[in-house]
């Protein structure tokens, strides 16, 4: 993991924070969810390298 501690798994390689199969409003809601999670991680105490997923508090 090369020493990075706050890693959030995105949706896919060519579509990190999106999903082309969803209609636009639902896709934007999905992006909100991912970015909210990223902002949460910025406020979270972390000690170990780990990959977080969008689920979980």
């Amino acid at each position: 993991m090369i020493g990075v501690t706050r890693v959030l798994r995105g949706v896919s390689v060519p579509n990190v924070l999106g999903d082309h199969e969803l209609p636009p409003e639902r896709e934007k809601a999905l992006r909100r969810k991912y970015v909210r999670r990223a902002l949460e991680l910025l406020q979270k105490e972390v000690t170990d390298k780990q990959i977080f997923s969008v689920e979980g508090s």
Partner: protein
């Protein structure tokens, strides 16, 4: 056993050429038809089958101040001697001398097609600059172990000359092992014949490791240092958050000259003009050959989530979406380059008082 003697030519600076010290650093080229200074030790090590047929002496400043021109001039003076082997220095820790040795070895081997070898201390700037082109043997900081340092150079030089010994390389080239001949690895990758298959060598290495016996790795795994996680943001509602991406997003026409693969630089774009809230705005381009850019080109927020971040700013969830977006293209970039880009962007971000970053990577 009549073998033609090997003709060796030697390059030294003004000091080792016994012309003077710093006071003579500006001296121009001087040719002597015999070994001078360490050249005598060189002749001694070479023995009777090789002759040091000439020595070229030059002032460190004269050479270093115009490397290309001086190298050409040197070549012109060396060529008439028709050497079979060229030796420069050793330059030890002396920077200007190291540059001169590197430059003259490079031009001699390229234009005369003969092996050229020099010696330097590993911190000599000449090493980093010339190691890929020139055989540079390891040497001490100073001339204290001259005989040993010269012996290394001679051994490598003679090996480069000897066509009769078998080469272990598939290509048939004679590239001696940097470990065996103690020179700075040139970064060359070649296939070689080995008596044992890689499967056998792997098991041998593993067995040795399990038994606690010594073994030598064939390739080094780079060590990554652990980065202490920065302290969490206390007040997100007051925080400035910036967006960074290595997805290769830039202006159409690629004015910052990103490369789709390999090492790169980075650029910072003003969000308001790069991602306008309304209207067609700027034409984009993705310079990155590691992923299919189609979806991001349809909607750049899929890579750089400006739309939701603007909403979060309006909603007071974050203090501010910082008005700059940092972009680079990260596809098979080297570790060294990536570290450099990271440090530079981080420094810029820190100077601007940005509190946190969301970096999106494809």
């Amino acid at each position: 056993m009549n073998q033609k003697p090997i003709r060796v030519f030697h390059y030294v600076n003004q000091f080792f050429g016994q012309e003077g010290g710093e006071d003579k650093a500006d001296m121009r080229f001087l040719v002597k038809e015999s070994p001078v200074g360490p050249g005598k030790a060189l002749q001694q090590i070479l023995g009777e089958r090789s002759w040091v047929v000439g020595t070229l002496i030059c002032g460190d400043n004269y050479f270093a101040e115009n490397l290309e021109k001086a190298a050409e001039e040197a070549l012109g003076l060396i060529t008439p001697f028709k050497p079979d082997l060229f030796v420069a220095g050793p330059a030890f820790e002396a920077g200007r001398y190291g540059m001169a040795c590197g430059a003259v070895c490079k031009i001699v081997q390229e234009r005369l097609g003969i092996p050229a070898v020099t010696g330097m201390y590993e911190e000599n700037p000449g090493v980093e600059l010339y190691r890929r082109d020139v055989y540079i043997c390891r040497a001490e900081r100073s001339a204290g172990k001259m005989m040993q340092d010269l012996t290394r150079v001679v051994n490598l030089g003679l090996r480069l000359l000897s066509k009769d010994e078998q080469t272990r390389l598939v290509s048939g080239e004679i590239i001696p092992s940097p470990f065996e001949f103690e020179y700075f690895p040139r970064g060359l990758i070649r296939n070689e014949f080995t008596p044992k298959s890689h499967a056998q060598r792997s098991i041998d290495m593993l067995m040795a490791k399990l038994k606690g016996e010594p073994f030598t790795t064939e390739t080094e795994i780079p060590k990554f240092s652990a980065v202490r996680p920065p302290t969490p943001i206390q007040m997100l509602a007051a925080a400035k958050i910036a967006l960074v991406s290595d997805g290769g997003l830039t202006f159409k026409g690629n004015p910052d000259r990103f490369s789709g693969r390999g090492d790169n630089g980075w650029a910072a774009y003003e969000i308001d003009s790069f991602f306008p809230v309304q209207g067609s705005g700027i034409d984009y381009e993705i310079v990155h050959t590691g992923y299919h850019p189609h979806y991001v080109m349809q909607n750049t927020s899929r890579l750089v989530p400006v739309d939701v971040m603007r909403d979060f700013e309006k909603e007071g969830i974050i203090g501010e979406l910082y008005p700059l977006f940092y972009s680079t293209s990260g596809n098979a970039a080297s570790r060294v380059c990536s570290l450099k880009i990271g440090e530079e962007i981080a420094r810029d971000i820190k100077n601007r008082g940005i509190d946190g970053v969301i970096l999106t990577s494809t």
